[in-house]
């Protein structure tokens, strides 16, 4: 075998994968790791979604109240048929509020932080986590 022919032969030897007796165990371990990381991700996303959802509902609710009261004033000023619609909006908002009250979410005291403060703190935390993930991924490759 000449030197020129040798490289392809080496490549063929390298391409020939060795057989491992514990291949099934290796595959099972890897599948377990995949499942574990997937569970963790699902849980983290669920928690983040829940927290974000609660905060979003609280914020929307407060905006709705302001909107409802301002549109009530406007409607009262106009004294027109829009009053009925405004009242419906207020009723809807009150219904959502009472439902959240029943669930104990609307009255939830999230420490001494206000809604917006909590929102920004959570957003900052998520951004930090995302940045850490990107950094770690960039280190892997």
């Amino acid at each position: 075998m000449s030197v020129d022919e040798f490289d392809p032969a080496i490549e063929r030897l390298f391409a020939r994968a060795p057989a491992f007796a514990d291949s099934a165990q290796f595959e099972a371990d890897l599948a377990a790791k995949l499942n574990k990381s997937s569970r963790f991700r699902t849980m983290a996303l669920s928690v983040a979604g829940l927290v974000g959802g609660v905060i979003a509902v609280r914020e929307v609710l407060s905006v709705d109240f302001n909107f409802a009261s301002s549109s009530s004033s406007a409607s009262a000023g106009a004294q027109s048929a829009g009053q009925g619609l405004t009242m419906a909006g207020v009723d809807g908002a009150q219904a959502v509020q009472s439902m959240l009250d029943r669930l104990g979410v609307a009255g939830m005291d999230l420490g001494s932080m206000g809604g917006m403060q909590l929102f920004w703190a959570t957003a900052g935390l998520l951004v930090a986590l995302l940045a850490a993930g990107v950094v770690k991924l960039s280190q892997e490759i």
Binding site: M1, V3, F6, D7, I10, E11, L13, F14, A15, R16, A17, P18, A19, F20, S23, F26, E27, D29, L30, A31, K33, L34, N35, S37, S38, L137, Q139, E140, I141
Partner: protein
Amino acid sequence: MVKPLRDLHDVELAALSAAGGRREFGELVRRHSPAVRGLLRRMGAQPALADDVAQDAFLLAFEKCAEFRGEGTFGAWIKRIAARLYLKRRSKDARYVAEVENDDVAPNVDSVGRMDLDEAMKGLTEPERLCVSLCHGAGLSHPEIAAAINLPLGTVKSHVKRGLDKLRARLQPEPVAHGSASHVG
């Protein structure tokens, strides 16, 4: 009609894996994990470390499956990922380019003096082993190897050449000189 997994091409399996298909990715693991584990061991990793890095490589490949578009083979792609992960892991521990010769141990050879590739690789120095494995096992070019292990290009070429020379000598031992005696008389 849905084709069984074993009938699907790697590119199809990778596309399905990118969409979250774990069974499809499992088939890719079944097909390529022996090659990846073998490559890492040939690069000099101890079996436990090799398997650990191989698993990390497959986990990373699952995350990045969408980036595999089938320009090369999936096997080459995953081997490159694994090789780079192993180099990164090693670089955390120590500089792996120290010019330390391996201890001379008696190699396992067959009845006609040949040994298999894994056995022959043990006769190479660590840098030679890395360079030959990365070149012929992971498919990296010489400049890519030089960049990956932070060595000058000329040094990488020398390591590859010396490593191949050693492998050639070990895989194809010189025939026993029997010609001179047979011609006598």
